[in-house]
């Protein structure tokens, strides 16, 4: 048997998930010395993961990495199998039989809950649902968001929370020529929201949003950012955190907040209140969300390790809609170890481990590997590290030739699956772009699988 990674016996790799982590893993594999063939599996008919369905529609520049992914996809060593759910349409065992290595790059598909009473009241949502909805993700397109109340609350202060605030704060005209889903634009255009409260449990020195994101809240046509100057008073530990040269980015965010606090009032009809040191402890209302009960916190602990402690001081905020954005967690895949506490696949340097032992041939990268931190580019470094582990393992992997996609495709089609190839996706892509032209949008996304398959005439 020829050794693995040669022309006669190329390394056959399956990548599960087609977001940034998956594409950067493909890039690293294809760019490595051994002969490699990469097949990428995606449960939707469209690739690109959160770059397509997470990045906000008014941030077109942040979608530019798609150009890099398109180049990777055009490599003769790469194939795309869309509309295939691993663990459902095909088992992990079957994948292992067809490939030398399987890399999970499937992200963190669900959100963390707050674990407080009233969380499931109508009107209380996960930010991920709202983001998926306005971005035309098929899983969320039929959700209903009631924006007929004047007050919205966003719990959490990461960039996703800021995205949600900004989309709620913008006028329809500010969104009209983006790739926002038509169904979302229609609802947002009728929004009666006037006050948006973005609430964080810790202080301004600890907020996770980045300064370009928070700065944008001060550049909107009809919304003013509101910051209470008292919220910007820092304890000595927080002052120390901001004085640390490594926290240059946090200092910039803090300066943006200071500028917001000093802004004179205007006649803009919406306000986005950025509030600190408060945690929701209960949601309540008659049959639907009417108010959130907030506990005032104080910070305790060493610099960079400060935690929020309850003060016992409580306040109520009337609101009609609430979005929680306090983190994500992965979803377990049948046949793959899973860390329930952290919501990730347990691993060592990208090698999947089960009870401390490496599971040969299984790897992981991206959010499902390290948890939901970092931005698009962070996944490139992460995927390079995982691929380095694969290359180091190459001499120890089972060298037996694998059939790769040919057998899998037959298997899937025998089960009635309509596998969407990259050429198929290119047709869908072109149709979306055409659909967007009458409204001067970069594209009008298809939001149902059937619409996409109709483009393919199947």
């Amino acid at each position: 048997m020829s050794s693995l990674g040669t022309q006669k016996n190329p390394l056959r790799a399956a990548i599960v998930g087609s977001g940034p982590a998956g594409f950067y893993a493909a890039e690293a594999l294809i760019g490595s010395a051994p002969a490699v063939l990469v097949d990428m599996f995606e449960r939707l008919a469209s690739p690109f993961g959160l770059v397509r369905s997470g990045v906000a529609p008014d941030h077109p520049k942040l979608k530019q990495p798609i150009k890099v992914y398109q180049q990777i996809a055009e490599s003769p060593q790469f194939r795309f199998l869309g509309n295939v759910t691993v663990g459902h349409d095909v088992s992990v065992k079957e994948l292992k039989d067809c490939y030398h290595v399987v890399i999970f790059a499937c992200g963190t598909q669900t959100d963390r809950t707050m674990g407080i009473p009233g969380e499931s009241l109508p009107g209380s949502h996960a930010a991920t649902e709202f983001v998926g909805w306005y971005n035309g993700h098929p899983d969320y397109r039929d959700l209903v968001f009631d924006l007929s109340h004047e007050t919205a609350v966003v719990i959490g202060q990461g960039n996703v929370a800021v995205d949600v605030c900004r989309i709620l704060a913008k006028t329809a005209d500010e969104l009209r020529h983006t790739d926002i889903a038509a169904h979302a634009l229609e609802v947002l255009a009728q929004s009666r929201i006037r006050d948006i409260h973005m609430i964080g449990r810790r202080g301004p020195a600890q907020a996770k949003f980045t300064h370009p994101e928070i700065r944008e809240l001060g550049e909107l046509a009809e919304c003013d950012p509101v910051v209470d100057p008292r919220d910007l008073e820092l304890n000595s530990a927080s002052r120390e955190e901001l004085a640390d040269k490594r926290n240059r980015a946090n200092i910039k965010s803090y300066e943006v907040l200071q500028a917001f606090a000093a802004r004179p009032p205007s006649t803009r009809h919406r306000r986005c209140h950025i509030e600190f040191l408060k945690s929701p402890i209960e949601l309540s209302g008659e049959g639907r969300l009417e108010r959130v009960v907030l506990m005032r916190n104080r910070l305790e602990g060493e610099p960079s390790r400060q935690v929020a402690r309850e003060t016992g001081e409580i306040e109520e905020l009337a609101c009609g809609v609430l979005f929680r954005s306090i983190g994500y967690r992965g979803v377990a895949i049948l046949g793959v170890p899973f860390d329930e506490a952290r919501g990730v696949i347990p691993n060592r340097d990208g090698r999947v481990i089960d009870d401390g032992d490496v599971v040969a041939g299984l790897y992981v990268t991206g959010w499902i590997k390290r948890g939901p931190t970092g931005i698009i580019g962070t996944n490139r470094e992460d995927s390079v590290l995982t691929v380095n582990s694969i290359l180091a393992d190459l001499p120890h992997l089972d060298v037996g030739a694998r059939p790769g996609m040919d057998r899998l495709r037959a298997l899937l089609e025998g089960r009635g699956s309509r596998v969407v190839s990259y050429a198929d996706w290119q047709k869908i892509d072109a149709a979306e772009i055409r659909r967007g032209q009458p409204a001067a949008k970069p594209r009008e996304k298809f939001t149902r699988l059937k619409e996409m398959l109709d483009v393919l005439g199947s």
């Binding site: 940034p20 760019g31 520049k61 942040l62 530019q64 990495p65 150009k67 890099v68 980045t210 370009p212 040269k245 490594r246 240059r248 980015a249 970092g374 931005i375 698009i376 580019g377 962070t378 996944n379 490139r380 470094e381 390079v384």
Partner: protein
């Protein structure tokens, strides 16, 4: 928006930045790296990776403004750097001298 590589990179050239660039916008000569402003998406991923804090984004300080033109001129003429490389000889000593 602009993101630029500045003087601290010269003769440091650690190249940690290129690993996290989602769009491969770094180019380099023997001494330092430059960002192609046409390709860069200003995501800021590279900024915190630089061991000598050579990368700046808007608002770019007055004493670093001239680097905007240097990056724009130099980058397109040089090869793209996508993978981590050996730092410039003596980079560690320079890092110390710069106070990092």
């Amino acid at each position: 928006m602009t993101t630029v590589v500045t003087d601290n990179c010269r003769r440091s050239r650690f190249t940690d930045c290129v690993l996290v660039c989602p769009v491969a916008c770094f180019h380099g000569d023997d001494e330092m790296l430059y960002i192609d402003p046409v390709v860069c998406i200003d995501c800021g991923a590279c900024i915190s990776k630089c061991p000598v804090q050579a990368i700046y984004e808007d608002p770019i300080p007055a004493d670093k403004q001239h680097w905007i033109e240097i990056n724009a001129m130099r980058a397109p003429a040089l090869p793209v750097i996508r993978t981590k490389q050996e730092p410039y000889p003596g980079a560690e000593a320079r890092k110390k001298a710069l106070g990092f």
